[in-house]
Symmetry: C2
Subunit: 198 residues, 2 copies
């Protein structure tokens, strides 16, 4: 779990992220990465075995980071509805500061690239499921969310809306305030998944 990463490796991951957010998956070449770092292409291979390894390291870093953040949020909140909101805001704040991860996680170009990359991306999704699903289930039990729809499907709708928002943000060149739009989406989702009071 405690993936050890050298300073240089971290710099490379950051550089790769910058390229991803600016030039997309197809722009992420060893040549561009080396240029971004300011050294020759061959030097990249002093720190990573392959391009694939760089991307996997990047995704693993995100997975660990996300696991930590979500764990923190769950630990410091009690009410399911409140926790869900905190998770939402946590994600929004994180992606707002690290837009390249939007490209990394929500792109299929990378998923096609290799099996290990694909697995890494799915792992990230599962981190979210791991925290969201019990939360939604609990919220249903407590009467905060509608019991008419299975928790898995409620989660599907929430995650789908979130992903589409990220897609739109990226398509717009990260040109609008994702936190603001995210807040609005969240508000709407809460309205919709609330149980009807009769």
């Amino acid at each position: 779990m405690a993936t050890n990463i050298s300073n240089r490796q971290f710099e490379l991951i950051e550089a790769a992220g910058k390229i991803l957010s600016e030039a997309g998956v197809s722009g992420l070449t060893i040549k561009n990465l080396a240029r971004q770092m300011g050294f020759a292409e061959s030097a990249v291979y002093r720190h990573f075995d392959s391009k694939e390894a760089i991307i996997v390291a990047m995704l693993n870093y995100l997975a660990e980071n996300m696991e930590e953040r979500l764990g923190q949020v769950v630990a410091t909140t009690s009410n399911p509805s409140e926790t869900l909101e905190a998770i939402f805001q946590n994600h929004l704040s994180f992606f707002s500061k690290n837009p390249h991860f939007v490209v990394a996680v929500f792109s299929d170009g990378l998923m096609e690239a290799s099996q290990s990359i694909n697995a890494a991306i799915l792992r990230i999704m599962q981190v979210n499921v791991k925290y969201l699903l019990p939360l939604i289930y609990e919220g249903q039990q407590q009467g905060q969310f509608t019991p008419n729809v299975p928790a898995e499907d409620l989660m599907h709708i929430i995650m789908g809306s979130f992903r589409l928002l990220m897609f739109k943000w990226r398509s717009a060149g990260f040109g609008f305030d994702i936190s603001l739009k995210g807040q609005q989406l969240m508000t709407n989702l809460f309205k919709i998944i609330q149980p009807c009071r009769n």
Copy 2:
């Protein structure tokens, strides 16, 4: 609008679709396309000026087809809720028969590839918006859908859920019954966007 396409061109588009669904965007090369067609690479260029032109033609075909289908559905249904359901089922049935379009439309690898491809994909999304938005708005007016959330945002949630379903289907290698899962999603969505009866 009346995009004229020769028989061979249509065959090429179909072959490209088959490759897309089996090998993804990265598998769609002229070499593979020629192999699929059973002739040499250079012969492809007898029918299309470039690879880009093939993809654009494919997307335009989808756009026209979709426009036609949605127009048909809207014309033969009256009730907004009923129309929305019919659109949903129409899409499910179409994608179920043409899974390659899922790859084409919901992939970012293609969007990055060129400006004209990007525009073609966005055009397809807009065809959906054009039909869905008035429908949802009307449904809200008639008290079939909740008025608490703006129509645009309701549409966002619906489209996001649908896209995620397509993503999951593709990730699973088109290995489950998309019509069935789609029906379930639709049922859940309808439950959720229904206005509370007090």
